[in-house]
Symmetry: D2
């Protein structure tokens, strides 16, 4: 890191910082500019304790140089990671599509949907059984019954099952039925939960928090990876900005940016990322064109009667059209839907 | 809610919406404007199922009219709630101050700090034992040992103990030692945890999520209140915006806004809200002037050697000066520090 | 618009609002809900004077129903507008590409670049002569000399010339040399300038302000259209959010959203939208896939010696590769680069 | 600045950067860390041309060290600037209050308001004659007639006149009548206009752009200061964030932050900063407590019939109450309303 001193910092203050840097186990290198002195601290520590220097007398600013994540970094593992479960694969050229309803509502709903999305080319089935809802008055999901129905749909179709786990005490139960554990945006920094799914042995889909920086997101992945679980997929689902015409703002540039910084596959969620079904098809195609390793799309047999998220769900025909366009664009850039 | 139809919506589509509204248990009232038809849906349902109308054919937009929260609403309980624990009180005219280190680090650190902040006028001691850290490589807190030291400091000073609980399985343990359970910003929408602290019988300090809207925040409070726990304090600690000269952006207008919408007391955290110790005193005073019912301030015997958040912690002298200024401003607007 | 009354609004207050609505030339329609009364105001006024109702006693909120723009609206003109100048065309199926340096620096630089980008498929040449710079200490552009060099490059290549105009008093001069007048993001709400380019007879490229809502942007277009100039292109160039790994956040969902709301063509600027040359190719392709009617891309013979924006400029080879990928993706979705 | 190299940067790339730094007239200092090499570039250049280094091969990031502004900097002029015009003063301990309607509407309106706000303690009269309006269909102001009425109100009351100028060609006209020229938020980066008011000899109130960083704002001030005009006041009027319960988000921490970075006085606009008249009083008081050097508040004889911004305007009684509270809080922190 670089410690930038105030313009009028005294020699004693500069000397004090150099000593503090050494106490932290780093080498100090003092550079005197025409207007400012800076102290470069050399070494590979990443712990937050270094931030304390920012409060030392005479210090103007502390600028980190090293990325704070390690295991997730492309510098550590240059080749891309491919996460594959049953017929689903994402990363290293494969573009995997997860599709299904926001909430599991009934056997007929989930099995019909599973068959339809498989027919259109999806290789994983998404569906919510434990639902984190902003309002306590909203439908909270079918819980274990929902998980059983998803497992049944897998049996019928062979699709991998992706579903959210909301709490440490539910990890074991959800892992019994699901192939991919989803960490929702609200729980991206629920560190106990990250540790728990890290230890579950299941692949994890880690959604980006609505106001998480890319660094915070990769550090959340690092919590999972550090438990010995290498099968982590990052899911860009939009960030919160001043825009109101979309539910969230979907910053697709995070896809090529992440590909430069990490080896983990990047999935895009155009359903939450836009919040309007009429925007989902174009943004699905754009995500594939931006290099996404996968998509997760909300699909429902009858969006206007859905118990949740109907306004952003595609019906079967819309999903099928979207998949055909995605397949063409994937082919145009030398990739294939998996 | 108001369902706004597309300009070219057909009579069939309008009729269909009117029927859907009635199926949802609401009364439909069709209003034909010069350019648009709108369907007013009358009744007091607040469940998310209504959102599905937004995906019906011919619908342009759905505008909610009722606030989604009930129990937290000032319409339901017009008189302000005062939360009081030991010598601490916040709300209904009382301005309570919680102060202490980001992390509990040792007996000497926490007891010395407790004595100092009490001397300056604080009535509660904050301190972290279970620490949610962005990086897995940062100090994670002293855990139960930290809780014990806080309890010891309470014994020495009589200050109420405020500390964060990160996970449902830790609620019982933390509640054994603490007087106020803090829900951190990252966990504001961890609904299982909200339910658990709702059932703990302890007062709760609910920090605002960094990108939570006020409605989402009040709905999170509603999860706690609905478990039968009325002692909920809201803590404004800043939101994430494009500003980089502060760690977060502290929107003090949320204080008078919340006072209009809810009876719950509103605490302000100028430490996280600014992220720089040199901004904390002025923003503490401003928060009191804006009508805050309390403050939570990070104080450390030696900020530059703190194991976390040193850059935003006050030392004892700075805290004492800040308290004196806050007391004067509180008096100027007819309130008192408690 | 819908005026939502407070829960405890009196009959007098409701009656007062109904009268105020009528005074504004609208019809009032009172709807009594189970918890709230709302007053629907029927008519097609769009002036801001209606906002004053929000301050009347007993009023909780005022919700607009009509979009505030008219001439730009797709409701008024359902068929898409195609803007074409010399060999360049954007809209109604054509995808036009503008490319060139941030700043015109010399005859050799601009002519060489013009030839190279034409060779790769661009049909318009961008280049800055009057440069709006955040810092007064940065290069401010070659001014009229730069315009002359662009005109020369047009003569050599036949490319249409696109350049920014910063001030009303420069409109005439810039219009003498340029084919398309660009309004920069900083000037999106410089209403005198919008009126001036509206009266210039030249096509206009209207960049989105960094924190402009889509409605504000369309209203800015409306200022130009209302001067009788139908040749307005909207340019999405990214918005300011908390993200720091990109210079701005490029919200491609605005492309399909705008196509639904307006007939005007939508151009995407992946150079400013990302701020890093290594992100530009993927985001160019993604923009085409999202349905953009055109691209504007910074290209420089030697980005590392550019006098401005080198960090986000492509060199000739990178631009050529990008164009080839864009052409393939355009073909895959049934469009063509123009 | 500090040029951070990629982990795998070659010796040739490092050498190339060191040479480029020297070509830019700076001294290069290479520091080899355990994981990264950085090149410190020493010297006081602030021009944007340095940014081009970010595109050189092997470069990961370029971190600026020096603030980009000079004349506005507190490092250059440590003592605070006080701007005073007629009876108004702001800065160096004085807290000046500007008050008046959003738009000048009639002689009676403006003169009555001038008398009322003077009575309550304001020393300057604000009022809009040239109005920048988001919609072309909104009231655009009385233009020169409005200026004449403000001058008349000054004659009647002695209050200094503050009004917005929107365009270079209107600077001379507006300067004929006004004492303080206001640059609106939309024009904060209209550099020709900044230069024009810089040369006008009048004091300037420079509003912050809704998405301007503090650095961009100070650089805009620098454009004015560099024309030889030292009488610049910065006006914090709120930034655009995801919050929707306020019109903008008013980040009061910018007040103490600016006091640390610049000698210029900082005015706060709680009217635009909140957008709701019921939030203005508390935020006015909070702004004074945060250390603001002045306030600018919208006041109208009858807000609900105002031609613009009625929803955020105080009536005379509300303004008088607000001023009394502000005066008490100013006294409590050792300052006085001027």
């Amino acid at each position: 890191m670089i410690v930038v001193m105030e313009k009028n910092a005294t020699e004693d203050q500069i000397e004090h910082i150099a000593q503090r840097v050494q106490q932290l186990g780093l080498r100090a290198h003092v550079i005197r500019g025409t207007e400012r002195t800076v102290v470069a601290a050399i070494g590979d520590k990443r712990g937050g304790e270094r931030e304390s220097l920012a409060s030392s007398p005479g210090v103007s600013d502390v600028v980190p140089i090293l990325a704070p994540y390690k295991v997730a970094s492309r510098e550590v593992k240059p080749e891309p990671t491919c996460v594959s479960v049953l017929g689903f694969a994402a990363g290293a050229g494969a573009v995997g599509v997860m599709a299904g309803p926001c909430s599991v509502e009934s056997e007929e709903q989930i099995v019909t949907t599973a068959r339809a999305v498989k027919q259109s080319g999806a290789t994983a089935l998404r569906g919510g059984a434990f639902k984190p809802r902003t309002s306590p008055y909203s439908f909270q999901g079918m819980k274990e019954d929902g998980l059983k129905l998803m497992a049944l749909a897998r049996q019928e179709t062979g699709l991998a099952v992706v579903t959210e786990v909301m709490s440490t005490e539910e990890v074991e139960l959800v892992a019994k039925y699901a192939d991919v554990l989803q960490i929702g945006a609200r729980n991206m920094q629920n560190y106990r939960l990250l540790e728990a799914v890290g230890g579950s042995g299941k692949a994890v889909l880690l959604k980006r928090g609505a106001s998480a920086t890319v660094e915070e997101w990769l550090l959340a992945a690092e919590y999972i990876l550090n438990e010995g679980n290498p099968n982590v997929m990052l899911c860009e689902r939009g960030i919160r900005t001043f825009e109101t015409h979309t539910r969230f703002t979907l910053p697709l540039a995070s896809v090529p940016y992440l590909h430069r910084k990490t080896h983990l596959p990047v999935i895009v969620d155009p359903s939450h990322g836009t919040g309007h079904s009429y925007l989902v098809p174009d943004m699905s195609v754009a995500a594939v064109a931006a290099g996404a390793d996968g998509l997760i799309i909300e699909v429902h047999p009858s969006p206007e009667t859905a118990m949740s998220d109907g306004y952003q769900s595609l019906d079967f025909q819309q999903f099928d059209d979207t998949m055909q366009r995605c397949a063409k664009v994937a082919a145009a850039i030398g990739k294939h839907l998996h």
